[in-house]
């Protein structure tokens, strides 16, 4: 069901009723190889009855072909030939399941060190991440690294699933030790205690995944699914200043609409209403919103996440790549970016590199002027002025762009504070860029 909420629009001062998607949770999984992520996801799909009979039959057949006594639920999700052959997840996959309380989009990400970039991919849109550890091993280097990446990308809620709890005889002391150690790490990453939940599970046997387990009488918290159904979903912040990256100019030039000139885009942050004063960047021209058009006809206002078309009071020269923003709280316009990047390519980053930066709907040329630090996500420390950044490394860079970009910090806005770094030669996505240094522990050192 779509619920509504009432708030005051920042620009017009009018009361606004906004639909809030309380019913869709985007989540990602993370964890080391063989911690059982695919089995956990398979178990969630299976126990929420999101697996249909033909898919289950296929898993039964494939498991029997491999000589397994019980069905291997990871075969439900490991869809590529190589994954099934090697028994590992190579690439991020998206899964869909629903309960009467909520719908879920799950980004199932691989744990291999060389595929950390997929954790970044999954985490970039996630509202919650389920991080797995093996109860026998506890918090390991990869756990700390993944948690840091999740924190860096601003994933608001964490679940630590202490998997294979059956392999340690459902021992409460083991669980408590892991939970305590992880809580301390999460706190260092800036998580409030109530944003982190630790659950003892057995993905293989189903303990505490959907149903409470009789094997863990000492555990009084929710099962994983109960938590996923209940955890508050932070909607896109409506109280953030309005931002609309212009994607496309709609000009029908038809007999019916000879003068229609609309600026199409998805609201990246905040709320926009008819009559609001806005500024068009980088030109800096001020005007007013004369109409908020939507795919379902004109509306008085629109909010973050909505794809809309704005019509403006004055005839302003606007094209793809421009940003329409709230006039009084416009972002800074700069051609010097100070940013954190997660390097996702095999070719290393070196100072002096010429790249493309895609920010919002604008792609600008850029030069990496400085590589000032490399972060060690495990130790939460940093190395000054490294020579290069290698695949899966995270660092702080300065970039000079060929034109000024209207930027927010990532901490203020996930949408207008992020960018892609692209190789101009072959179009490869080289890095995920986050404006500013969002992780306090890194910045301090």
């Amino acid at each position: 069901m779509t619920e509504t909420t009432t708030r005051t629009a920042p620009d017009s001062g009018t009361e606004v009723t906004l639909p809030v998607q309380t019913d869709l949770l985007r989540l990602a999984t993370a964890g080391s190889v063989d911690d059982g992520k695919s089995t956990l996801v398979g178990r969630l799909l299976h126990d929420t009855k999101s697996v249909l009979a033909d898919q289950l039959d296929a898993v039964h057949r494939a498991s029997a072909d491999r000589g397994l006594a019980t069905p291997d639920l990871s075969l439900l999700v490991d869809g590529l030939r190589a994954e099934r052959e090697q028994g590992i997840t190579i690439d991020v996959a998206y899964r869909y399941f629903a309960t009467p309380k909520r719908s879920f989009v799950l980004a199932d990400t691989p744990g291999h060190v060389q595929y950390t970039r997929n954790t970044v991919t999954g985490a970039s849109t996630a509202q919650l991440a389920v991080l797995l550890v093996d109860a026998r091993n506890g918090v390991v280097e990869q756990t700390r690294r993944h948690a840091a990446v999740l924190a860096l990308l601003g994933v608001p809620q964490l679940v630590l699933a202490v998997n294979k709890i059956d392999m340690v005889d459902f021992d409460e002391a083991v669980f408590t030790r892991i939970a305590t150690e992880f809580a301390e790490h999460a706190r260092a990453l800036g998580y409030q205690d109530d944003a982190v939940v630790t659950i003892p599970v057995s993905a293989l046997l189903g303990d505490n995944v959907v149903e409470h387990s009789a094997n863990t009488p000492w555990y009084e918290g929710p099962s994983l699914l109960e938590h996923l159904e209940r955890v508050p979903v932070a909607p896109d912040p409506h109280d953030a200043p309005f931002r609309l990256p212009v994607q496309y100019v709609i000009r029908p030039r038809t007999a019916e609409h000879p003068d229609y000139r609309g600026y199409a885009g998805q609201v990246a942050a905040g709320v926009v209403a008819e009559g609001d004063e806005v500024v068009v960047l980088p030109a800096g021209v001020r005007t007013r919103v004369s109409k908020v058009d939507t795919p379902n006809g004109p509306k008085p206002r629109a909010a973050a996440g909505h794809s809309i078309t704005l019509l403006l009071a004055d005839d302003v020269d606007i094209s793809r790549g421009d940003l329409i923003a709230a006039a009084d709280t416009a972002p800074e316009l700069t051609d010097e970016l100070d940013a954190t990047v997660c390097w996702l390519a095999e070719k290393p980053l070196k100072p002096g590199a010429k790249v493309l930066v895609k920010h919002g709907t604008r792609t600008a040329q850029a030069i990496v002027t400085e590589l000032s630090a490399r972060f060690d996500e495990q130790r939460l420390s940093s190395v000054d002025a490294p020579d290069s950044l290698q695949l899966n490394e995270i660092g702080r860079v300065q970039l000079r762009t060929s034109e000024p970009l209207p930027v927010d910090t990532y901490a203020a806005s996930r949408r207008t504070g992020s960018f892609l770094v692209i190789d101009p030669a072959d179009g490869t996505t080289l890095a995920a860029g986050l404006i500013g240094v969002p992780l306090a522990p890194f910045a301090a050192r």
């Binding site: 009979a53 590529l80 690439d91 998206y94 009467p100 970044v120 496309y248 709609i250 379902n296 179009g427």
Partner: protein, 312 residues
């Protein structure tokens, strides 16, 4: 293991579905506009099926009140249902969209392709599709694929780069971050774009209901002569059936997917309206592909193998 098929839900008793259609619509429209802004020659792959019909509907909404700035492309296997072809033509005409048709039959007639021993033409679509993309220099090709359809599809990006041979390499996919899509490609390469990636079959039907989208009649229950092969009900027709020993029967059926007539099965159904279909899909214990697509049963990785070759 928990037994999952103990209880059978009756149509009408389906659990209430939560409403995230606005979010899915908004995301799809954003994707259409990104492609319109970044590419020179996009095209929408349109079969007349439910997913591609929803795709066209979303494209119309994305650019309203201006016309859709892309043509349509259909790969006609020569084994398509006549009513679906009529629907395809009518949609193109109604919305004043240019329709490009690539015909498998043409390739068979002049010997560029050979009929397969099993008679199915679905795998033969790849060559005419890639030729049409090359000949028309299409650089972005929208498809109605959804990640919930199949395990290999679940691995697909929304923007999926294909090399000059149209091939998909799952190990070399670009990371897809936030809602920033990278459409860069070199000459000869193209990008497959899947705006419905995050939709499920039920979302599609609920959207069809909400938006009152018209579909070919074969999606709704009707009487039809069918025969059974490999546990599926196939329609009698020029695509090679019934063969000897296959007995035609008159059944009340409908189609969950629309594809090549030689390998797309009908399901027995009394769902005459959109509401009926939603109740039926919500209660179904079979996926649409498992129920009705013979070509996905060839091997555990049939879809992945076809995608690697350039098929959707």
């Amino acid at each position: 293991m928990t037994a999952i098929d103990a209880e059978v839900e009756l149509p009408g008793d389906a659990p209430p579905q939560v409403d995230n259609l606005d979010a899915l619509e908004s995301e799809a429209i954003h994707i259409f506009r990104e492609v319109a802004g970044e590419f020179d020659r996009p095209v929408i792959l349109f079969s007349g099926g439910k997913d591609s019909t929803v795709l066209v509907h979303l494209a119309l909404k994305a650019f309203r009140p201006a016309p859709v700035p892309f043509p349509l492309l259909h790969v006609d296997t020569g084994h398509n249902f006549p009513e679906v072809l009529a629907f395809r033509d009518e949609i193109a005409e109604r919305h004043d969209l240019r329709l490009v048709v690539a015909s498998v039959q043409d390739y068979l007639d002049d010997g560029r392709l050979q009929e397969r021993p099993d008679g199915t033409r679905n795998p033969l679509q790849t060559t005419p599709l890639l030729d049409a993309i090359g000949d028309n220099r299409f650089d972005a090709v929208f498809g109605g694929g959804r990640r919930d359809e199949e395990r290999a599809r679940a691995k697909e990006r929304i923007f999926s780069l294909r090399n000059a041979f149209g091939q998909w390499d799952p190990r070399r996919q670009r990371p897809e971050l936030w809602n920033l899509y990278n459409g860069r490609h070199r000459p000869g390469e193209h990008v497959r774009v899947f705006p419905l990636s995050n939709w499920t079959e039920l979302d599609i039907w609920r959207y069809i209901q909400r938006e009152k989208i018209e579909l070919p009649d074969i999606y709704y229950a009707h009487r039809r002569e069918v025969y059974q092969r490999d546990g599926m009900w196939l329609t009698s027709g020029p695509w090679g059936g019934p063969r000897e020993g296959e007995v035609p029967a008159l059944k009340t059926v409908r189609y969950r997917t629309v594809g090549d007539g030689s390998c797309t099965g009908a399901v027995e159904s009394e769902a005459y309206t959109v509401d009926d279909v939603i109740a039926e899909v919500a209660a179904s214990r079979l996926t649409e592909r498992g129920a009705t697509r013979a070509d996905d049963r060839i091997s555990e990785a049939a879809m992945e193998d076809r995608k690697r070759e350039g098929y959707f």
